[in-house]
Every structure is written in C-alpha cells, then in structure tokens.
Subunit: 386 residues, 2 copies
C-alpha cells in the first residue's frame, strides 16, 4: 500500500506511534491545571512539549498556543482581529488560492460585520500577485483589518512569497496571518525570522495526533480568546488541554528536525519522477511546475483524462492519491485554486495530487510511476477528449 | 495510588486504553473527507462512532457535533446565539455556580455586544433558585437571548433542576444551553428526553481521549459555525476531524452503558464513607449534602482546617484530590460556587473534593477514609481555628 495523500492528512509517524503506545498505557493522566502532583506532572510534560515545539519552529514558548488545529487557529485570528478592530478597519484581504478555512472565515466575518472581502488574484505560475498587493496596500492600507495569505499551497505545493508579504504588511502595520499548514513539516520554517504575525499548524499534517495544533502569535497581548474557558493557554484558549496530543506535536517536530536533511533528496526524487512521467507522456502538465514547490508535492494533469478515473486506477493498485484538496474532493470540476491560476477545464478536471511526507520511505515514486503509466495508457485508449 | 479527581479529569478508561493501543499501531490513518478508500474507511469508522454515541446519549446522530470539548461547545453556543440574535435580545442568564467557561463566555459577549449578563442566585442546598428564574422569565422573557445553567455542579456534585429549566425555557421559546459536562458519564442522561436545546460533553471527563467532545444540538439549522473550515461536521464545525479521539468517545460511552448499573452501588458507598467520616468528626460538613448529588462526588469541609493542608496530607499517602475545580484551584479562598451557596470562609477554605468515576475500583473509599482520618487528627492538633 502506498499512501500519497500527505497533504490531506499524514499517518501518525513512527516515533509518534511508539511514543503513544507507551504513553497510553503508562500515564500519567490528570488535569494539567490541577495543583496536585499528578496534575503538575502532566503540566510539566506539556510545557516541555511546548518548549521543544518552540525551538523547532524558531521562536519562544510564549508565542505558542496549543489548540485543535489550523482551522481553529485561522478562525481564532479572524475572530480576534475582527471583534477588536471592525469599527475602524473595513477590508479583509485573502488570495484566490487559500484553503476554505480562510475563504469561509473571511466571507463569514465580512457578512456579520459588514466588511469588504478582497481576493488577491494569482499568477499563472501559482503564486499570488505580490505586485498588486503592494498597490492595494499603498492605496487602501489604512482600511485593511487583516491580510491572510498562505505559505505553501495545499494543491500545487507552490511556495508563496510569504516573507515578502510579511515585510510589506509590517511596513503598513497591518496584521498578517500566514496559513503555514502545508509548509510546516515539509519545508524549513522559522517563525521569528518569517516576520509573520500569526502562523498555524495542524498536527495531523505532520504525523502527530489528530485534533492537535499550534497557533503562533507575535504579539499575544493583541489577542482575545475565542474558546473561552478557565484561563488555560495564558487566557487565549480555554478548555482542558489535549496534553496527550500536544506531546505528540513535540515528537513529530523532533522527527522532522532529524529528517529535514532529506528534503533535498526528496525534491530530487520528485523531479526525476515528474521528468520520467513527462518523457513518457509529453502532453502531461505539472501544475505550478515553474514555481518553487514543496519537496513532496506533485500536481499533474493529462488534458482530457479525468482525474477521478486516474485516481480509481491507482487505487486498484493500492495507491491512494486525491484529485485536489480533501475539502473539495467531491466535486469533479476544476478546483478553485486551479481556476485562480487560469487553468482551463480540460486540464483542471484531469488534476491528480501525489503528496508524500518526510516519513515516506523514498521508493514510492517508482511504484507510482509504473501504476500511473498503465493508468494513462489504459485511459488514453478511451476517447474522452473534450 | 488513588486518583480521586475524576471531576477534574478522568484517566483513559481501560477499554479506551486497549482500543487505542491497537488503533495507533494498526491504522487506518487518512483524512475522513478524502474520497479515496482510506479516507472513506476512516469516515465510516467515525460515523459509526457517532451513531454509538448518539444511542448512548439518547438522541439521533444528526444532533451530534464532534468538537474539542465542552469549553468549545459552550463558547460555540454563545457565539452562535449572540451573533445571530444580539440585535433583538439583550439578556444573557447564567447562574452563580457555573463553570468559568460559561461565566467568562457570558461576560465576554456581554462586553463585546453590549448585553446584560444576569446571574441567577443559588440556594444554600447548592441548587439554583428555580422560582426566581420563573419570575425573571415571566417578566423579561422576551428580552432573554440565552439561558445557560449546568446539569450537575463540578464542585459539589449537586444535580440541578435542568429538566424543569428546559421546560420553562421552552415555554418562553428561549434557547437553553445546559452544561452537562459533569453529569454525563456519572449519571443517566437522555438528550431527547431532557428537553434542553444544547448540551455538551468533554471526552477527558469520561475516560475518552483528551481534546475530544460532543455538542448536542436540538435544532442544527439554528446554528452558525465558530470554527469555520471546509464544511466538516455538516458545516457547523470546520477542521479535519480528530477521528482517533472521536472513536474513543464511543468506546468510553459504551463502557459507561455497561457499568451504569453500578451507579447505585457507588452512591451507597459514598454515603457510607461520608457517614463514617461524620461519625468520627461530628463537625465535618458535607457541602451540598442535602441535595441530590452525583454518585461519585463528595465535597467536604472541616471548619477551620485548610483544604490545601488536607490535600497535601492525602498526597503524602499517594491520594490525589483537589480543593475545588481545577480552574480555580490555585487560590486558597472560598470558591465562587461555595460563595454562591452562602458558605462562610472558615468552611469554604476547608473544602476538599473527592471525586471518583465509574471506572474507579470501588475500594478507594476505605483507603481515603483512613488517610483523611489521620490527616484531620494531625491537623486538628494545630490550633488554626478562626
């Protein structure tokens, strides 16, 4: 079995499986907010995990807030910035290639607080139009409540100019939320050096426990809580902490740090795989292929061959890929990311995403290549050209 | 070691430990929203868990929304009701014995949306003043946006007249959020029969995985999402689901259903324990002792003997209890619950909460009785009477 949907969700990585197997049997279990010894022991373990995560993410523990994942982090930043600034500022800026958590949050708050939701277009190479953003901020910067643009796209893997956007936003003193969900665990990331004001992480994307995440916050005093409880996470995220899960974030990030030297090798493997595929099928398109991309993501299309048909062929060889992101997987149409890139429907409907992770074995590409080759050979015999 | 802080957080119950030990090693792991076979397999497991939970909670799966826990559920209900009704309705009603998740949510929304937060007093027996609530609703019912009152108190274990409150609120067509966190898993609960509009559950209180919870919703069409993502949980709670954790909710609730016949026995054990303690120390007070209480909670005080001193004595015998709720554990003062009950400081500062669960072995009380006896005997020699 080859699992090639790491951008959708990663399996628990080996170290996390081993850690949890022991942890679940041995304990300790207690409320980390209780003052008895058991509670304090759990608290110390969790705070140790926070320190390990902070070091790996290039910041201090005081900038890290544990939560249930990136979607919560994104919703929380929108909530906090909108509730505290909607009276003075009226524009939310996102881009045309954002994850639905960002798109839907922006639409939601635009509706309930009467704001303008402005969507930054994307260039045909898969990166957002940074020059246009510059113009927008030069003209309307004072009215901008929040800019939310991702670090790496979930479908194409294209890395965005997020550090440049951070600098630009800082110049205009506009808070910048960077959806780093797909970047972290698949590329190097340093929160302090990035210059972004808010960054997010989902544990299930990096091999940690499901239902875990981190919100990184440059200026915690700027925030208000959305999940409001008994003062946990320094008053910014209530509720008894998912400490068993948060510990696995530290384990998974530590595993990433051990393996990150493999990134170059993985990227090289991916490039060879894509080249071999294009040698066999010259019409095959690598979506976002001209831009800098995550080491482990290939988004390919053979114009006229339906992506879902290819997916099913691969599945019969026990290879699991997707046609786009999990959240829009059910509609056999061109994804909004590809539409934003100006990709036509015959290409867009053919898209197949092959996404591996740092914990992938490394020999997956040769098996996928073989299976994809026979899938295309078979499907090309059926005349489905539009 | 005796862990007697189940009201703070329960250890993973035996069945959950066994389930997870297998589950973590075997998989499957995938995004339940992906259409490939692995994703669908994970989805089916999660939906099966939802059906099991729904049956145990006395409702249909369509009323259940998985989330990260009760604090999220409570915050979500406040968020949803306030954002959609703050223009017509102006009063939030909670009680003086609510958990800080409810108190702080009400204060937060009162502040940001200019609402009145009205706090229902509590009678000396530990139940909220139902007659006064009747009067309030008869007079100002049309202005009430939300009533939020708990089912069982986390400190005293006193069961509140939540079914009567549900009936009353329904009569006035006011939405009723019932914080059922402490009741579920320690007493019988049936959502459909209860009549409440919103109920909440935290997995870590019932022996399931941390970071898991359920929000029960009578009329889902009434709600808007707070964590806004890609349409998960029927558009009411975004973010890739914590499926590994949600499965354990089904395991823990199934274990509860198997063991719930033990409730009467546990209650009897607790009553005997309390009687034996009062026989030895006639001045000892059972807080909330005159009301109907959870089978497994004792909240006791010896006037003039500091609770934290008793807690430390028990801890030296490897028995872990708390002085009040985890969230207010750090302040050696009378808790707000006890203040609301009119308890004086010499009694309030002496409070010790001993809380067990259905998974407790059953012989804990005799060991605790012995340890408490020597603790009080020792501490009473020190003249600290106020």
């Amino acid at each position: 079995m080859i699992y090639a949907d790491y951008n959708g969700s990663a399996p628990l990585c080996q170290d996390v499986q081993e850690y949890l197997s022991q942890r679940i049997v041995k304990g300790p279990f207690a409320n980390p907010n209780a003052i008895h010894f058991m509670g304090q022991k759990v608290l110390m373990g969790m705070e140790n995990a926070r320190a390990v995560c902070a070091k790996s993410l290039g910041t201090l523990p005081k900038h890290l807030y544990f939560n249930s994942g990136s979607t919560e982090g994104i919703s929380h930043v929108f909530y906090s910035e909108v509730l505290t600034h909607f009276k003075e500022k009226k524009i939310l800026i996102t881009s045309g290639i954002e994850h639905s958590a960002v798109v839907n949050s922006a639409n939601h708050y635009a509706k309930y607080f009467n704001l303008e939701h402005r969507v930054l277009p994307c260039l045909s190479n898969g990166t957002v139009d940074f020059e246009l953003l510059k113009q927008w901020l030069a003209k309307d910067g004072e009215q901008v409540l929040l800019v939310s643009i991702m670090a790496a796209n979930n479908e194409t893997g294209v890395i965005q100019p997020y550090k440049e956007i951070a600098q630009l936003c800082r110049k205009h003193t506009i808070p910048f939320l960077c959806d780093t969900t797909q970047l972290i665990g698949k590329d190097l990331f340093n929160f302090d050096e990035s210059g972004v004001d808010y960054a997010v992480l989902s544990g299930h994307k990096i091999g940690a426990m499901t239902g875990t995440g981190i919100l990184m916050v440059r200026e915690p005093s700027r925030m208000i809580p959305m999940i409001i409880g008994g003062g946990q996470e320094r008053n910014l995220r209530g509720g008894t902490q998912h400490y068993l899960g948060y510990e696995t974030l530290a384990v998974a990030l530590t595993e990433f740090d051990k393996k990150k030297l493999r990134l170059e090798e993985l990227k090289e493997n991916r490039l060879q795989f894509e080249k071999a595929l294009q040698d066999k099928f010259p019409k095959l398109i690598i979506l976002g292929g001209e831009a800098d991309r995550l080491a482990t993501t290939s988004f390919i299309s053979y114009p006229g061959v339906h992506g879902q048909a290819v997916q099913m062929e691969l599945e019969s060889d026990d290879i699991f890929v997707t046609t786009s992101s999990a959240c829009s997987d059910n509609s056999p149409t061109t994804s909004k990311v590809l539409k934003a890139m100006g990709v036509k429907d015959d290409v867009g409907r053919g898209a197949i995403r092959i996404s591996l992770g740092l914990c992938s074995k490394g020999d997956e590409y040769s098996v996928i290549l073989k299976s994809l080759t026979s899938a295309f050979n078979k499907l090309l015999k059926i005349d489905i050209h539009v």
